[in-house]
Symmetry: C2
Subunit: 255 residues, 2 copies
């Protein structure tokens, strides 16, 4: 395994799931062995990968309750072109039970260690909160990719997220780094987007990906077909943007 | 107090805070006495009402730790024209401590009872999850207003939310009803929006507000000025839509 990347931002609706599914598919299309880990009880990454979250025999909850189960739970070769650790609303129960178990922050890490050698990258889709599920993701990951809508509330939340990452780095995961900040749903015609984008680059400069994901309706349509945009409409601007991101992501690894 | 309304949807970024702030401001402009309760550790409703969440002497955490504190914490007459129970990231700590206290679901309800007679309506802005904070809101509220972006992942999440409401109704709050489902960020030019909107009306018919909130950049700009859109740009389509919603909301109360 080259790297485990947590895709996280406690601000809701900034494009975490859309980034996770489409970056995973683009990396897989380039020949990388990819595991997508759905850690959100909403199960959007599971549905977006073409798997019915209501028909799961096993899911992420089973992995957190007993890390030995991980191989039984992984859905191999989804329609999207990568392997998937699926989630559904059963996972909501784990937020309470995780708090009472031992090793509560490291359950995911212990599980993922067991399959490390099978993959090049693992991408973790996180829920929109700084709860025990997100802490598990940050304890397990090598780096954090932060999708960021260029709007005021999203910008306001980034300092709380960076604080949490710092706390995790000082306590349970000293090697955790920031992979990058990704501007999503970008609409260059509106001044708010440009203002916020400029502030991001001023504050975080080299951490901000050059690749920008435009607002593109094909990205919002693809999940209802259970496909990444690469397979739903490969000529769309959304698909091109995520392929460009995948290339920039790989270049950074070889940096 | 005529009614306490929880504004909730565990799907992130669907317009919960934007609806809470702008409906509160529109109801206040019509002469109603309004309390806005910010129950999200992101503190967006606090910032969107013109209050600096990092300068708070007291906040929602103090209310949940000791319901007696509520009058000390309320910010009277904010620039937005209503009273506010502010929140900030301290509230994240409460998710763990709430689980260990007695009456854990009813802490907010006990506190709000103390100020009921001072207001006509209270609106509660919820975080994007079905955690103990949201459970507190559903235990405290008389009804639930569900902002809903007309996109696939948001539609997918609505059954989990309705299930949670049903469970709360059967256990801790038998009188809880659905106030309505509000279509937000509505863009009639795109077929996905129209498809999802049609499905909403087919499934939920009379529960869906006639008022639709259009995608309007002035709604996204207003929070950076700490103002509801009614005070930031009262001639905008966003402002008109929330005033129309306030009128429809009041008509419903009068049955
Ligand atoms: N670049 C884009 N252009 C258009 N629509 C997009 C884009 N990215 C995401 N969307 C749509 O916006 C909505 C929010 O995106 P998404 O669900 O991926 O965000 P999220 O951060 O995972 O949300 P949550 O906080 O609920 O987990 C979805 O309906 C998605 O289809
Ligand atoms: N009708 C609209 N038109 C344009 N932008 C909007 C509209 N409603 C909300 N927004 C913007 O979309 C983003 C998401 O809205 P908002 O933060 O209110 O959603 P939320 O459901 O409260 O999110 P969270 O799940 O993080 O609490 C914000 O940047 C907001 O300014
Ligand atoms: Mg998501
Ligand atoms: Mg909000």
């Amino acid at each position: 395994m080259r790297k485990i990347v947590a895709i996280t931002n406690q601000k809701g609706g900034v494009g975490k799931t859309t980034t996770c599914v489409n970056l995973a598919a683009s990396l897989a299309a380039n020949g990388n062995r990819i595991l997508l880990i759905d850690l959100d009880p909403q199960g959007n990454a599971t549905t977006g990968s073409g798997i019915d979250k209501n028909q799961l025999r096993y899911s992420m909850l089973d992995v957190l309750s007993n890390p030995e189960n991980i191989r039984q739970v992984i859905q191999l070769k989804t329609p999207a072109g990568y392997d998937l650790l699926p989630a559904n609303s059963d996972l909501t129960a784990s937020e309470v039970s995780l708090l009472e178990s031992d090793n509560k922050e490291a359950r995911l890490k212990i599980a993922v260690q067991k399959v490390l050698q099978d993959y090049d990258f693992a991408l973790i889709d996180c829920p929109p909160s700084l709860n025990m599920l997100t802490v598990n993701a940050l304890a397990c990951a090598n780096s954090v990719l932060i999708p960021m809508q260029c709007e005021y509330y999203a910008l306001e939340g980034i300092s709380a997220l960076l604080n949490t990452i710092k706390v995790i780095k000082q306590s349970i995961n000293p090697k955790l780094i920031i992979e990058g900040i990704l501007r999503t749903m970008y609409d260059p015609r509106n001044s708010l987007t440009n203002d916020v984008s400029r502030q991001l680059i001023n504050h975080f400069s080299h951490l901000v990906y050059r690749t920008v994901i435009p607002r593109n309706i094909r990205l919002a349509e693809a999940p209802s077909h259970g496909l990444p945009v690469l397979l739903y409409d490969k000529h769309s601007r959304g698909s091109a943007a995520y392929r460009t991101l995948a290339n920039e992501f790989i270049r950074e690894q070889n940096g």
